[in-house]
């Protein structure tokens, strides 16, 4: 008789613990998805100008929204997504701008970096159809520092809080290595004029 009374009580306690556990997991998930981020991006101009913008300051800048997606080197397709962020050109303008004799280096917090030449900053990329994976011409395309994907802030795996993306009017893909995650520094560099003659020299 005693056991008959104890079992339901134990089950009630276990049940309450599980409910609280599940609520805690939910609350943690929800907390992770909040769009409140402590993050700075350092901008460095070709002439040495330097400026640091917080995540909130970047979000307050005029934004660009469009479609963007990519495929990995293993052929895995991500997107196209509805992507929102600030054009890289606008960020470069904060430290003197970028011109055709310059390039932009972007750095991630994990030590990864990528360089974009002026044509790429202006949106010249090879684009691919997500269904056929065939090279496909594109309309307007912009290189941006993205902070929202399909209306939500980025998750850690997607590059939270700021990631490089190409976005435009068409639902197309580019190669994934350009979509650099976890950006914390953007630097405008001069391409060495002496190197720009366009020849190959073979010394023997």
């Amino acid at each position: 008789m005693k056991m008959r009374r104890i079992i339901p009580i134990v089950l009630v306690i276990v049940g309450i613990l599980c409910v609280f556990g599940a609520m805690a997991v939910y609350a943690l998930e929800r907390g992770n998805n909040q769009d409140r981020v402590e993050w700075n991006v350092t901008l460095v101009g070709a002439g040495g100008e330097q400026k640091t913008l917080s995540y909130d300051e970047i979000k307050a800048m005029p934004s660009y929204e469009g479609w963007g997606g990519f495929f990995s080197t293993a052929g895995v397709v991500s997107g196209p997504f509805k992507v929102k962020g600030v054009p890289l050109e606008s960020l470069c303008e904060q430290v003197g701008g970028v011109n055709p004799s310059q390039a932009v280096l972007v750095y991630a917090v994990d030590g990864y970096s990528m360089v974009f030449d002026y044509d790429q900053i202006s949106g010249k990329f090879d684009t691919y159809d997500p269904q056929t994976m065939k090279p496909t011409p594109h309309g307007e395309l912009k290189l941006i520092l993205m902070y929202r994907e399909d209306g939500k802030p980025l998750s850690h795996d997607d590059g939270k809080p700021l990631r490089i993306a190409t976005v435009g009017t068409d639902k197309l893909l580019i190669e994934g290595h350009f979509w650099v995650k976890w950006i914390n520094k953007i630097e405008v560099i001069n391409i060495n004029e002496a190197k720009a003659s366009g020849t190959i020299t073979v010394a023997s």
Partner: protein, 353 residues
Amino acid sequence: MKAKLEYLLTLIVAVTAIFSLTACIPQGQKGTELRVINADSLMVPFQELAKAFETEHPGVDVQIEGHGSIQVIRQVTELGAEADVLAVADCSLIPMMMYDVQIPGTSENYADWYMIFATNHLVIAYTSQSKYADQIDNTNWYKILSMPDVKVGISDPRLDSSGYRALMTCELAGLYYGNDSIFQNVMGSFSPPITVSEGNGTYTIKVPEIIKPLKAAVQGSAIALIATVQSGDIDYAFMYQSIAEQHGLRFIQLPPEIDLSSDAYKELTAGLSVKIEFQRFASVTPVFECQPISYGITIPKNAPHPELAVDFIKFILSDTGQKIFQDCRQPLVIPPSADEPSRLPSALRLLVE
């Protein structure tokens, strides 16, 4: 009545508990997960291997993940992934990036051995629609690729091992055929230029941080290169033979002295390297020495399932594994070799030459 209420309450609580517990269990969990991170060029055979290994090991879920080879290792050493097996397209990356890097919170480094288990050949892939497809062969390929109306593609040497190996092959072709202009004629000009310098029989190809080809097409990965060959946007592309075969492309086999499948290139030069003037990874010095294409495999010392990882590597080299690799046109090295045989797990030591 009171008893019925008690039982009803118990039932409600039990159902709630089951649902709550279910919510806490990660989705998709099934048995032991063996995580394998491999070079992109191994994706096709490794996906087949994973299926066959799971069949022979019920309860094991093999997770295959492909990246560029440097990124394969960085997943573990810099991004904190816990992997059981790492396989890369350039075995020299394993000692370079793992032997002197300590696992946080321990006194151990990430690895201290690797096995060379597979190789490849660099070939020129094309389709029946490529210009002069009915004329090209393994004696005139560099003349066809030099024609002004022929579009040649390579992977980006700053990003992909087959890209810097394509530059090496072009330079070796100049030495092999005794024609200094092959590199320039095939690849065309770049702005800023890719330069080749020589000193004491050693050649250094210097790749600038910005690559803007005036003739060739440069793609970031083999996947993009395949798409552009198949679409006809480019006529010919340097790539690994296994990839060309897996995607049904025609290809020209190059002489062994220049296809990097062996050390036969040493007959042509004392040394050859590609130096990239763009440091894509803070932790990697971007200088790549000419070496035969040797795929390396290791088990990180913090692997969650080291014994199962040993079984997986043994499976690659088993009759079943060899057949899978053969069917996928990916050449294996049988028997495999190791840089430090004494450090191999005992079950693998028996397999190396």
